[in-house]
């Protein structure tokens, strides 16, 4: 039995239809039985054919757990998914469904929930980053396994990075890197990064005089410009962020690589605002129940610690 979830979950829930452009989306608004606590939470699902419930009802479990803790929570189906109208054939990380999320946030504001935190998984996390930087009333964001690079970087065009050896050495001496070296998987990963960097340096030496090859977005770094700019803007606004990755996620490997470069500089500017949690396994796939439980606990604990939520009602 899911811990901390009240049995009569649907007693707190209201199904709704709301407009999003030309489409009508479906959502479920959960309100706490007792006096609520700010902020409200909007759950933004991953990009796949599944509904707002998510794999093994993970979004529903997060919603009901947070509602038990006093938060109003809104989960919704993207257009073309679940009970919503419309159709969709591609979830493009570079073209997230910003309009859908904007409509969802507008809906809850109409219901008097003027401040919110956003919780998104993968495509949902990218959707959040698309609108969050300028979103009024935003109190926080949780990004589960957010892809750092653009989709075109992932499908075969390697993005060149310019990382100086000196920077690599400095980064390698940081405490969390030294700690990671105790793990065999992490040692292998760092070995691959080092080998890749050395190969890049070698090619550069051999092709001295050629201009530095830029990534698709005219950025000498590998991280997506939108990702970098969004994170940077959120931290400038003092918006707390929780990033959750699985140690085996390919997206985490990308994140770690980019941390050694521009992304690391951005994150360091937001020290105290950014929490990074790494769970064992693949967070992105949510393919294990114990991992799902870890993620739910991490999200709910972070919400409690950041926003001093009310006491959970035990089942």
């Amino acid at each position: 039995m899911d811990k901390g979830i009240i049995d009569a979950a649907t007693e707190c829930e209201e199904p709704v239809f709301f407009p999003a452009g030309a489409e009508t989306l479906f959502g479920v608004l959960s309100r706490p039985i007792s006096q609520g606590t700010e902020p409200a939470v909007v759950l933004v699902g991953g990009g796949w054919y599944g509904t707002s419930s998510g794999r093994n009802r993970i979004m529903i479990r997060i919603a009901r757990r947070l509602t038990s803790a006093g938060h109003s929570v809104f989960r919704f189906d993207y257009h073309g998914v679940g009970e919503s109208t419309g159709s969709v054939t591609l979830f493009d990380l570079d073209r997230p469904f910003a309009e859908d999320l904007e409509a969802a946030v507008a809906f809850i504001k109409d219901r008097g929930l003027t401040e919110c935190a956003l919780v998104g998984v993968c495509f949902g996390a990218r959707t959040i980053l698309e609108i969050a930087p300028e979103l009024g009333g935003l109190r926080g964001a949780v990004l589960v396994s957010p892809p750092v690079r653009s989709v075109r970087d992932e499908i075969g065009r390697p993005t060149r990075r310019s990382v100086s050896m000196w920077k690599l050495v400095i980064h390698g001496l940081r405490p969390w890197v030294l700690r990671d070296l105790l793990d065999s998987d992490r040692r292998r990963y760092y070995g691959r990064v080092l080998a890749k960097t050395l190969r890049h340096k070698q090619r550069k030496l051999l092709s001295r005089g050629r201009s530095l090859e830029l990534s698709r977005e005219g950025n000498a770094r590998g991280a997506s410009a939108i990702f970098l700019e969004s994170i940077n803007r959120l931290l400038e606004r003092q918006i707390p962020l929780l990033l959750i990755y699985g140690r085996s996620d390919t997206y985490f490997q990308d994140f770690q690589a980019e941390r050694m470069d521009g992304l690391g500089e951005v994150l360091e500017k937001g020290a105290g605002l950014v929490d990074l949690r790494v769970v064992d396994g693949e967070a992105h796939a949510l393919g294990r129940m114990d991992l799902q439980d870890q993620i739910i606990d991490t999200v709910c604990d972070w919400m409690r610690d950041r926003f001093r939520a009310g006491t959970e009602i035990k089942a």
């Binding site: 199904p15 239809f17 407009p19 419930s53 794999r55 109208t85 294990r288």
Partner: protein, 319 residues
């Protein structure tokens, strides 16, 4: 497309349609009217407080000619098939047939936990959904559609309605084989983990199920209660002896009818059932999917499936 989420059709809201005795068993609902397809959708919760189910009633704007109850598959298959069921229901409603979809208790948006679900509770849920549809619309003619294990449920409750049409989509014929296939999926996934140098589970799925009462299959729980209540069953027994029209929909890349389906259909025909079948050319992994590589939504052959089922049901329900 003009959608109005506030208009009501002539049938009234679910709260209005419920009798005073049953009004307490109707939770909150939302309605949407689609003036392009001339259907109305009522989405919400029904059933006794604390044990409510999430349901979707798809209605034509005029009085429906018949009703269909859709019994979903479970766990990963439930999500995999979800949108197809939504589109099927909308298509049928646009053709004058009321459709009731629902989430089993312990699944989806319904109350309860998956550990409480058994075949018996699933059948009761389907019966409650059927009553919901009949109570809301007054339809006399009814049919059932079930996918995978949902087909077993649909077949079981259809026995309460002699002679009504039954649609079985990719039905699980032998439930022992069905669970073996699911458990094999986990073993395949674990082999991949071993190949990547990650530790695999130390217990086989059946052993884990016996020892702990639950087995984790790719992030979905299969509980002992559900397993024990289903594993010894067969589709033949659930369909029973009373003849009825049956449509079997095969999903897969096979060019020919699968042996298990062929044997089943032969047996039914010999017993006086009117049996039809068609295949959907689709590689449906059911329990796999939703990963990083599946960013492109697989063309789920919804249109062929919906047209085939819709055409057959219309023919059955109008005759």
């Amino acid at each position: 497309m003009k959608n109005n989420a506030r208009q009501r059709g002539h049938l009234g809201t679910p709260e209005q349609m419920a009798s005073s005795e049953s009004r307490a068993n109707v939770g909150r609902w939302a309605s949407r009217v689609d003036m392009t397809t001339h259907i109305r959708e009522d989405v919400g919760f029904f059933g006794p407080p604390g044990r409510r189910m999430f349901g979707c009633t798809h209605l034509p704007l005029h009085a429906p000619s018949a009703g269909v109850v859709v019994c979903s598959p479970v766990q990963a298959e439930f999500l995999r098939n979800y949108r197809r069921e939504v589109l099927l229901a909308r298509s049928l409603a646009a053709r004058g047939i009321a459709v009731q979809r629902f989430h089993f208790r312990g699944a989806g948006n319904s109350d309860g936990d998956s550990s409480e679900a058994t075949f018996e509770t699933m059948c009761q849920d389907a019966l409650d959904a059927t009553q919901m549809l009949i109570g809301a619309t007054g339809v006399a003619d009814i049919a059932f559609v079930g996918t995978r294990v949902g087909g077993l449920v649909a077949a079981s409750i259809a026995r309460n309605h002699p002679g009504v049409p039954l649609v079985l989509v990719a039905p699980a014929v032998d439930l022992s084989a069905y669970f073996r296939e699911i458990f094999r999926g986990r073993l395949v996934s674990e082999l991949k983990e071993v190949a990547r140098g990650r530790q695999k589970s130390s217990r086989a799925p059946m052993e884990e199920l016996r020892q702990t009462g639950m087995v984790d299959i790719l992030g979905y729980p299969i509980h002992r209660a559900l397993f024990d209540s289903i594993v010894g069953r067969s589709l033949v027994e659930e369909v029973g002896e009373g003849p009825r029209p049956i449509l079997v929909v095969q999903v897969g890349k096979d060019d020919r009818v699968r042996r298990q389906y062929a044997a089943l259909m032969t047996r039914w025909r010999e017993s006086g059932f009117a049996v039809d079948s068609f295949g959907i050319d689709l590689n449906e992994p059911w329990w796999f999917g939703g990963g990083v590589s599946e960013r492109r939504v697989e063309p789920i052959r919804a249109s062929a499936l919906i047209e085939g089922i819709g055409h057959w049901l219309l023919g059955q329900l109008s005759s």
